[in-house]
């Protein structure tokens, strides 16, 4: 049993980290009243742009040995952040400045982002004219996967808590910081005011559009890191089309599951990660079909949480009141 936990726990965390990035980003976004259903697309874009950055960097090297570990991490991370920022700006420009419908814009962004990821994932080699058989950035991935050297020496404790790469710890740190900022600082108070009632916030002198822009763009950048983590660490630098799957939607599910609290998201994302891979551990014998039903669990759990939170109708456990609505000062 103990061995099982030691082997299950790190895998659940590895599955949970992209979800944690996605949900932290989406919570920040939704707190500003923007419902960004483009998060799955943003995560694809973040992932593929990380791949493109790493690919360009690796191709520019005279030999694989000349790889500078710092640059190998920095280049993909920056290209991931910049591309996710651009996606965030696009969403904000359409929904905040042009006041377009957020659901439609988000879905269009998901179509676009997933298409972009799969397109460049499938065609990057051909477009760049490189002479490698398939997209495997193992050298860059090894730099991303560097974990603390002491992890091996500490037995099960090291394996369970210290054996991860920096992106895992970063995801937890970001979630905790986001939670602190949202709930304990003036910026967070303003952000929540914008999401709950932009009219009041505007009257109080808060720049509604600026908060919406900032929150959505920062949220997209955080979500993009989730895509980067998935390709570079979890998938060992190998891009496979559609491999990222429905994790983006699970991240949105997680937002509801945690009732808009990033600090709860840390544990909840690992729980979801566990639920996501639980089917691999079920001793169902020959019955493969039941495994498909286990994959349903995270969504069913989310629906139940959604129903219960709406039934109990507690004021601190509701979605931001103006979620999904565009704000126009002259419209009352």
């Amino acid at each position: 049993m103990f061995d099982f936990i030691v082997s299950f726990f790190p895998r659940a965390i590895a599955q949970g980290v992209p979800l944690l990035y996605g949900s932290t980003g989406e919570i920040i976004t939704q707190k500003s009243g923007n419902m960004n259903l483009g998060i799955p697309g943003v995560m694809y874009v973040g992932g593929i742009c990380g791949v493109i950055g790493a690919f360009v960097y690796e191709q520019s090297l005279p030999s694989p040995d000349a790889l500078n570990p710092v640059l190998a991490v920095l280049v993909p991370t920056l290209s991931c952040l910049i591309s996710s920022l651009l996606m965030g700006l696009l969403f904000c420009f359409l929904t905040v400045t042009l006041r377009a419908n957020q659901n439609v814009t988000g879905l269009a962004m998901t179509t676009f982002g997933v298409g972009l990821g799969n397109f460049f994932g499938g065609s990057l080699i051909k477009l760049a004219g490189a002479d490698i058989p398939f997209l495997a950035l193992s050298a860059t991935s090894n730099c991303f996967k560097k974990s603390l050297p002491v992890a091996d020496k500490l037995g099960w404790f090291g394996e369970m808590f210290l054996s991860y790469s920096f992106l895992v710890y970063l995801s937890i740190a970001i979630a905790l910081v986001a939670s602190y900022i949202i709930n304990r600082t003036r910026t967070g108070l303003h952000l929540r005011a914008v999401g709950e009632n932009p009219n009041t916030a505007d009257a109080a002198g808060i720049n509604v559009n600026r908060y919406k822009y900032m929150a959505t763009c920062i949220g997209c950048m955080i979500a993009g890191l989730g895509g980067l983590y998935y390709v570079m660490d979890y998938a060992s630098g190998i891009w496979a089309n559609n491999a990222f799957g429905d994790r983006g939607w699970l991240a949105i599910a997680l937002v509801i599951f945690t009732i808009w609290r990033p600090n709860v998201g840390v544990l909840a994302s690992f729980l979801f990660g566990g639920l996501y891979i639980l089917h691999m551990y079920i001793p169902s014998g020959m019955n493969l079909a039941v495994k498909e039903l286990y994959k349903m669990l995270p969504y069913v759990v989310t629906i139940i949480v959604l129903i219960i939170s709406s039934m109990r109708n507690q004021r601190d456990k509701q979605p931001p009141a103006s979620l999904g609505l565009a704000y126009f000062r002259e419209e009352r």
Binding site: R99, L107, F112, V114, G117
Partner: protein, 366 residues
């Protein structure tokens, strides 16, 4: 920097009522701009000139008789899901669960085909019709009941229901797998053709297209001329007004979602019984999401939806043709679709609002 006495440089005002052609000409302009942008991007990626790109796009849809039929079939299916979502959207109920509701319908009809394979064809088909409509309606009504009773957020609820439906279908794909061990259901009843819809006319797609055409007109009439359509519009415009004039909002929400889900169920039925004759979790292939955009772009008008769904399918197939011709990845179509959607979404702003710049005082200030 004394700006106290001045209005802002850019001022946005809502337009009054504009003639109908005004909005559509702006939209047409947006589509043209989007096509130009797509042409430029395609040229950059493929290195071909723009003329060849556009030829390839048209060729993808009208290149051969078969391609035209496939185009029409895809338009019909997308339109069917979009029609289903429309009454809900008019009510401001964001039904993002078209995918799941259509899958529920598809699952029900596939179940009839598999479990009743020895029964007479007419009985099987009537069972398929009834069960798939019921299944779709049920899948749509679950979020509606909770929305009506507790105000549960329907956008997120319907979204999650998609994945529940997908996993249930995946479960039955393994249960009914044929041949054993393949993990998917092959063509159902390939020899007896029990549960296959009869072929009307020259193409197996014609029946689906006719059914969807009837649905389109029916939905147009329902929304525009029936009492229920009017109630939907009132609830969508203002729930409080609806309550005030004695409309039972809960009942309208549930009834409308039953209709919405039922038509999604028909889409699933047509996919399984009419064309594919099989079932897998990807059978609706994202139409539930694309249909949201189709319905929204057409401003929830069923007749305009014919054009918007045609536009999206046409471009998707055109982009697919480009991808095949130039050896690119099929996902290229999604990128072009996304770009076009961004343009059209952005253009809505210029239809609703007018930008007026500050008249004077700018230069003296500097």
């Amino acid at each position: 920097m004394n700006k106290q006495n001045q209005g802002p440089l850019v001022h946005i005002v809502k337009r009054g009522v504009m003639p109908w052609y005004f909005g559509w000409s702006i939209r047409a302009l947006a589509i043209v701009l989007a096509l130009v942008a797509c042409g430029i991007i395609s040229s950059l990626v493929t290195g071909e000139n723009a003329v060849e790109i556009y030829t390839a796009i048209i060729d993808g849809s009208f290149g051969s008789k078969r391609k035209v039929w496939v185009l029409l079939q895809n338009v019909a299916m997308l339109l069917c899901v979009a029609l289903a979502l429309t009454p809900a959207f008019k009510m401001k109920f964001w039904n993002l669960g078209g995918e799941g509701q259509a899958l529920a319908g598809a699952l029900a009809s596939a179940a009839c085909m598999i479990l009743m394979k020895d029964m007479p064809n007419a009985l099987v088909i009537s069972c398929m019709v009834i069960t798939s409509i019921l299944a779709g309606a049920l899948w749509g009504a679950i979020p509606a009941v909770f929305k009506a009773k507790f105000g549960t957020n329907e956008t997120l609820f319907t979204l999650m229901m998609n994945y529940v439906a997908m996993q249930i279908v995946a479960y039955y794909s393994v249960v009914w797998e044929n041949p054993k061990g393949s993990g998917n259901i092959g063509v159902i009843n390939p020899n007896t053709m029990v549960g296959w819809f009869p072929q009307v006319g020259s193409s197996k797609y014609l029946l689906n297209i006719i059914i969807v055409a009837v649905l389109t007109i029916g939905m147009y009439i329902y929304l525009k001329y029936s009492k229920q359509g009017y109630e939907i519009a009132v609830v969508g415009e203002s729930e409080r007004t609806a309550r005030y004039i004695g409309i039972k909002v809960d009942r309208i929400i549930i009834r409308t979602m039953l209709i919405s889900g039922a038509i999604c169920g028909i889409a699933g039925l047509l996919l399984v019984g009419g064309t594919n004759h099989t079932l897998n979790a990807d059978i609706v292939s994202g139409r539930g999401f694309t249909a949201v955009m189709v319905a929204w772009l057409a401003k929830f008008n069923p007749i305009w939806m014919v054009f918007t769904s045609f536009l999206l399918v046409f471009l998707g197939r055109g982009a697919g043709e480009i991808a095949t011709d130039f050896g690119l990845n099929q996902a290229f179509g999604d990128i072009l679709t996304g770009i076009i959607l961004f343009f059209i979404i952005g253009s809505e702003f210029f239809i609703t609002y007018k930008i007026s710049f500050r008249k004077s005082g700018r230069k003296e200030d500097k």
